[in-house]
């Protein structure tokens, strides 16, 4: 012990640690045991949310797909709501909101996303469940892996890979149907009439799912996923995470009947049964402490608790707890965790922005672009004419007519080009050319502010204004 302590911190100390530190580079396939338990049940429920991913695209609303990210027409449909690209700023707020929720949850309860909600975890879990059903329990699977190739092995392996590919294909199809009409997509798919981008998307998702979830599995979390690392640094000593109570567990050792009361008292509660390692989907040993490979799924808690039941010890040798608590420090109150409060603050701001955006979507938007070449035109009666390009975005689901009026500007100005109400087409921008003519002697300034207002003929509440300028000659 003395020698080790001396060497800790030196270069060779790192190598010594490396010797007993198992780095999972995927050389060995991890065959995790499946065990029922509290966290297993929670995980099943949270992962079942991904059924929505497969099913929601088939939901119809008013004869259209209820939720559709319509890329071809640059529209986002959410039931009655249609969001056009002009309102895309809300998307950035939504992304901010989601990121902050991830940060806040991680700082409070560690990698909840990784353990219960991540698609990589979910798909891998399903794929290994299928493997378990076809090839049997982990021992049988390890035996099968080293067994010589025979009919039985080939049959089992092909069935497994076939089902994996089927799910991967369905994943690709389901992903695509969020962006195009689902029924239309299936129709085109079965007739092999998808556009190139459709095939590329499908192939990418198919191979992506198959390779990442079926073959690479935990290697993705260990070496590819940036969020695993980002979330890893967001936990601190106040974060609750699945942790091994080393004070209670050590020194670990096999349970010996012979040891008697004395021997047992000297021993910790950990009986070194390796169940926590056996059930771990990423193959880490939680007793080594919090580490990169731990996706905090809680399956080792289920395993350990079931063993503790058998040996007659209380639950919670491995439990959700903070490092502070493990080390016997007093638990800090929530408000003394300022980082989380900052996250929550940003969440509230982003959420407020989205609510504001959704309630102020409006039905119509106006943009007026004054002609810049020429800025103005002299007319034969001495008046000055300006040309404006109107872009009216009708966000409703029906066409309607609008009137054009102007406030400010020059005395006795006349608006030309909107004598009759103008038709605006729904769901897109309609352009008009509008002229404003004003008597030359009334123009007092080179640039006069003018506010255009458009208003629906049917509904005076549907209106929009745009502030711009009327240009005249230098005075």
């Amino acid at each position: 012990m003395e020698i080790e302590r001396k060497e800790a911190g030196s270069v060779t100390g790192i190598y010594q640690e490396l010797e007993h530190w198992n780095v999972n580079t995927g050389a060995k396939t991890i065959h995790a045991k499946r065990m029922p338990g509290f966290f297993r049940t929670i995980k099943n429920y949270t992962q079942a949310l991904y059924l929505l991913f497969f099913l929601v695209p088939y939901l119809r609303w008013n004869g259209k797909q209820a939720i559709l990210f319509d890329i071809t027409n640059s529209q986002f449909h959410f039931f009655n709501l249609t969001v056009l690209p002009q309102d895309i700023w809300m998307l950035s707020l939504l992304l901010l909101l989601l990121a902050m929720v991830l940060f806040a949850v991680t700082s409070v309860a560690s990698r909840v996303w990784c353990g219960y909600f991540c698609f990589q975890t979910a798909w891998t879990d399903w794929f290994t469940w299928i493997e378990d059903k076809i090839e049997g329990n982990p021992q049988a699977r390890r035996k099968l892996d080293v067994a010589p190739w025979n009919v039985g092995k080939i049959w089992k392996k092909s069935i497994k890979h076939f089902i994996w590919m089927l799910i991967s294909l369905l994943t690709g199809i389901s992903f695509s149907t969020w962006f195009v009409d689902a029924y239309d997509y299936w129709n085109k798919l079965v007739h092999f009439q998808l556009p190139l981008v459709g095939w590329v998307t499908l192939a990418t998702l198919f191979f992506g799912t198959y390779i990442l979830a079926a073959l690479l599995r935990e290697q993705v979390c260990m070496w590819m996923c940036p969020y695993a690392r980002i979330q890893g640094v967001m936990t601190d000593s106040q974060t609750i995470l699945p942790a091994y109570d080393f004070r209670r567990g050590e020194p670990r050792g096999k349970l010996h009947r012979k040891a008697g009361e004395e021997g047992r008292a000297a021993q910790g509660d950990c009986i070194d049964c390796y169940q926590c390692v056996q059930v771990c989907p990423t193959g880490v040993d939680i007793r080594d402490g919090q580490q990169l490979g731990c996706i905090t799924c809680g399956l080792c808690l289920d395993a350990c608790d079931s063993i503790m039941d058998k040996v007659g010890k209380p639950h919670g040798l491995i439990r959700y707890t903070s490092l502070d608590e493990l080390e016997g420090k007093p638990a800090k109150k929530m408000y003394r965790h300022p980082r989380t409060l900052v996250y929550i603050g940003i969440i509230l701001i982003a959420f407020g922005g989205i609510v504001y955006g959704l309630t102020h979507l409006g039905s119509i938007a106006l943009k007026v672009i004054p002609e810049r070449q020429p800025l103005y035109v002299n007319l034969s009666d001495g008046s000055i004419q300006n040309k404006y390009d109107f872009k009216v975005l009708n966000k409703t689901d029906h066409d309607f007519h609008v009137t054009v009026t102007a406030e400010g500007g020059v005395k006795d100005q006349v608006i030309i080009g909107a004598e009759k109400p103008l038709l605006t087409h729904h769901g897109r921008s309609t352009s008009f050319t509008i002229f404003v003519r004003a008597p030359g002697e009334n123009i007092k300034r080179e640039v006069t502010p003018i506010v255009f207002r458009i208003q629906s003929v049917d509904d005076p509440l549907i209106a929009a204004e745009y502030k711009t300028k009327f240009n005249g000659p230098k005075r």
Binding site: G26, A27, V377, L379, S380, D381, Q385, S431, P439
Partner: protein
């Protein structure tokens, strides 16, 4: 080569730095090796599919099994544009300019797509967006945005101007009128009141410019009573008095030396026929007529009816 390091069972490369620093010969992760192999395969496929390397022995280059060329890609892109425009172009062919103008969808198409045609053929003299161009003598080609038209601002008139070209004509008066007479006429015209001097009628100006001085569009003679001048524009850098002086000088020059009169100091006002020159097809001339009309100066066929509400609103 390989040699075991004391701290690990993994063999090292055999080289030791700084007494105890060695390189373990660990394999890169499998997924990384797969990625590397896939990238290498991609390069091979890419090199075979696209033209990728010169073949110096035969003096050419490897054409690629995909048959891709930049020209083909460009042609495909052009084809895409043509397909979008084709349906509009097909409709344009059989229509008169007035009918195009009556169709809002086609008008929209022409005003959007006519910019290139105008830029290539018209803007050299008339300026981008028809703002006119200037030379040392003044305005070189008329502004097309305003409501003053020498030969008429109806769609048919504009179409005829582009198709057949226009040539202004005014004789030089330096041998007919005295300097004082020219000066008097120029001042009267500059004020927009040509008839304020009896010379206007007496010297025969009315023959071309009309008795009221408002010009005759069939001849292309200018309206002398309005505020727009064929060869002069207001200079914003000068004040009103200076501008007036400049205007009078310009008018004197026009009266003295004429327009297209053969006099080297005379004004030049020539627009070629774009049909005769073979530069533009019938459809293109029609498109340009609508495009120019839409600058804002185009006059509808029933000016009285159209002007009435505007005039009412002005009051």
């Amino acid at each position: 080569m390989s040699e075991k390091h004391e701290v690990s069972s993994v063999p090292t490369t055999g080289h030791v730095w700084d007494d105890d620093l060695a390189d373990l010969t660990n394999q890169p992760p499998k997924w990384w090796m797969l990625g590397l192999t896939a990238s290498a395969l991609f390069c091979v496929v890419y090199f075979l599919y696209y033209p990728s390397f010169p073949l110096s022995t035969v003096g050419g280059y490897f054409k690629g099994i995909g048959g891709w060329t930049a020209i083909k890609e460009m042609e495909a892109d052009v084809g895409e544009v043509e397909a979008v425009r084709g349906k509009f172009e097909a409709r344009l062919k059989g229509m008169t300019p007035a009918a195009i103008l009556a169709d809002s969808e086609l008008t929209e198409y022409v005003t959007r797509s006519g910019k290139v045609l105008f830029g290539d053929n018209c803007a050299a003299c008339h300026g981008q967006n028809g703002i006119g161009t200037h030379d040392r003598q003044g305005l070189f080609a008329p502004i097309l945005n305003d409501d003053d038209w020498l030969y008429g601002g109806k769609i048919e008139d504009i179409h005829a101007s582009i198709e057949g070209g226009r040539q202004g004509m005014m004789m030089a008066h330096k041998d007919i009128l005295s300097a004082a007479e020219i000066d008097a006429l120029a001042n009267a015209v500059a004020k927009g009141q040509p008839n304020s001097t009896p010379l206007f009628a007496a010297k025969g100006c009315t023959a071309c410019h009309g008795e009221d001085g408002k010009g005759i569009q069939a001849m292309g003679s200018a309206n002398l009573t309005d505020k727009i001048w064929r060869f002069e524009v207001r200079n914003d850098k000068l004040n009103d008095a200076e501008n007036m002086k400049k205007l009078v000088e310009g008018i004197k020059r026009t009266i003295t030396y004429g327009v297209n009169s053969g006099n080297p100091q005379g004004r030049v006002a020539v627009m070629p026929s774009f049909k005769e020159a073979g530069k533009l097809s019938d459809a293109e001339i029609k498109k340009l007529a609508v495009y120019v009309y839409k600058f804002g100066g185009g006059q509808s066929d029933a000016p009285a009816a159209a002007k009435a509400p505007a005039a009412g609103a002005a009051k």
